[in-house]
Amino acid sequence: MTSSRWIALAPWLWTIGLFLVWELAVKIFNLPVFILPAPTDIWEAIVKYWSPIWKNSVQTLFTTVAGFLLAVVGGLALGLAIGWSRAIYAGLYPLMIGFNSIPKVAVVPILVIWFGIGTIPAVLTAFLIAFFPIVVNVATGLATIEPEMEDVLRALGAKKLDIMLKVGIPRSMPYFFGSLKVAITLAFVGSVISETVAANSGIGHMMLAAQSQFNVPLVWAGLVALAVLGIVMYAIMAWLEIRMTGWAHRGNRS
């Protein structure tokens, strides 16, 4: 087998290896299920509880994607505004840093007061947590235009809008699409946090309910469901990134 085939197989081999080691460790040390269930126990739980896992996964996926889309729109808009004007940058940056330092779980109670428990706080938490990396990346892309490129265009009489449209926005696109990978994973964190605290559906809620019934394999099955969703969404974002800004990657390779 060629080395590139090995590299393509590597993620699967490592994953299978991890589960094998896990299974063996549980068996050898004879760990009770409520400490650490073996992968086979978790698999059993997945099969047994397939219908609630599926329903709650769809709910979590929905709140995550909704929050993520809001974050894309808001992050793009704010990122462009911040990259556009030094005054907006100077004014908003400290506020954003402060806001980003607040643990989002602390915001959920406020959202619940405003909107009640359920879908809306989950969507908004996902939005709040996912939008910061998008803003920062888009603004970075705009702020790092080569000064020489800017001089060339300004000497031709280009207005700020020209420079943004011709140079700034296209060159911030790789940063933007790169940030989507981070943003989608963070959006999962946000929606699950909110579901754990204040919801009656979603994976977070299901795990909390399972925990109160000491159904430990189901708790772990919830984690696995989240991991799978996360990987799939990440892969979609990575694919989108390559599709939309291929020039940035081809440029590096050659």
């Binding site: 080569e146 020489e148 300004r154 020039w247």
Partner: protein
């Protein structure tokens, strides 16, 4: 005597009051229409600053800058610029990079869509002139550094600027490519008869290409010598091995060495 580019008694400093860097002080230079001027001087003496001044990217605190008999108060769109770094946009093909100024400068900007074919033909013509015929569809990162620099020259020339500003455009190239591009530059200047200001560290480049070489002092920069180079045109590249040529290069070298010590 008024020239095409007239810089009179210019003083320019960077930074805030109290912590300022005086870059240029008492700078005077005058360049005639169609003249090929080269500017040489010690590093950090304000050559790039001079470029920005003449294109209106910055304005002096004292003195005046006139281009084409008009006081410069903002960007002059009759200029084309090229720097040492080709700064091509990687998401655009070479051809579309070259045509970028047409999307900015009037009247081309208004006509571009209507006369796309004519403009494209013109850009391809220009690419051919610098030896890049057929490379228009390639992306800049598929070109070598020398090829990118050729495209950079085309981009600076596509809108038929009356004034071409070059800031060490050949600085990062190997000796052979550099000599080849000197000849490209020589031919372009002969054909289109624009006015050129070329900033360079390479004295042979300055003497080979220019009608006039300006030597700047160390910072704060001013012109300490204006040297006419009267070799007949078209100049063969063999000129650079002739004694008269080397004498001028030697003189200029001595002047710059002196200016550096004086600093």
């Amino acid at each position: 005597m008024t020239g095409f580019v007239d810089i009179r008694n210019v003083r320019l400093s960077y930074g805030q009051a109290g912590d300022e860097t005086l870059a240029l002080d008492g700078l005077d230079m005058s360049i005639q229409e169609g003249e090929f001027a080269a500017v040489v001087g010690p590093s950090g003496c304000g050559k790039s600053t001079l470029m920005k001044l003449a294109t209106g990217l910055i304005t002096p605190q004292e003195g005046s800058v006139e281009v084409a008999q008009k006081e410069v108060s903002g960007p002059v769109s009759i200029a084309g610029m090229a720097f040492q770094n080709p700064s091509m946009l990687p998401w655009r093909s070479t051809l579309s990079n070259v045509m970028l100024p047409l999307e900015i400068v009037q009247p081309h900007r208004a006509n571009l869509r209507r006369e796309k074919a004519a403009y494209t033909a013109k850009a391809e013509e220009l690419l051919k002139l610098v030896g890049l015929g057929g490379f228009g569809e390639k992306f800049p990162w598929q070109l070598s550094g020398g090829m990118q620099q050729r495209a950079n020259l085309c981009r600076a020339l596509i809108h038929d600027p009356a004034l071409l500003m070059l800031d060490e455009p050949f600085g990062a190239l190997d000796a052979f490519t550099r000599e080849e591009l000197w000849q490209v530059m020589r031919d372009l200047h002969a054909e289109k008869s624009f006015t050129v200001i070329l900033v360079t560290h390479d004295l042979r480049e300055a003497v080979y290409l220019a009608d006039t070489v300006f030597v700047m002092s160390a910072r704060p920069g001013k012109i300490i010598e204006r040297r006419e180079v009267s070799f007949p045109r078209p100049r063969s590249i063999d000129l650079i091995y002739e004694a008269a040529f080397n004498d001028i290069v030697h003189d200029l070298r001595a002047l710059i060495a002196e200016a550096r010590v004086a600093a």
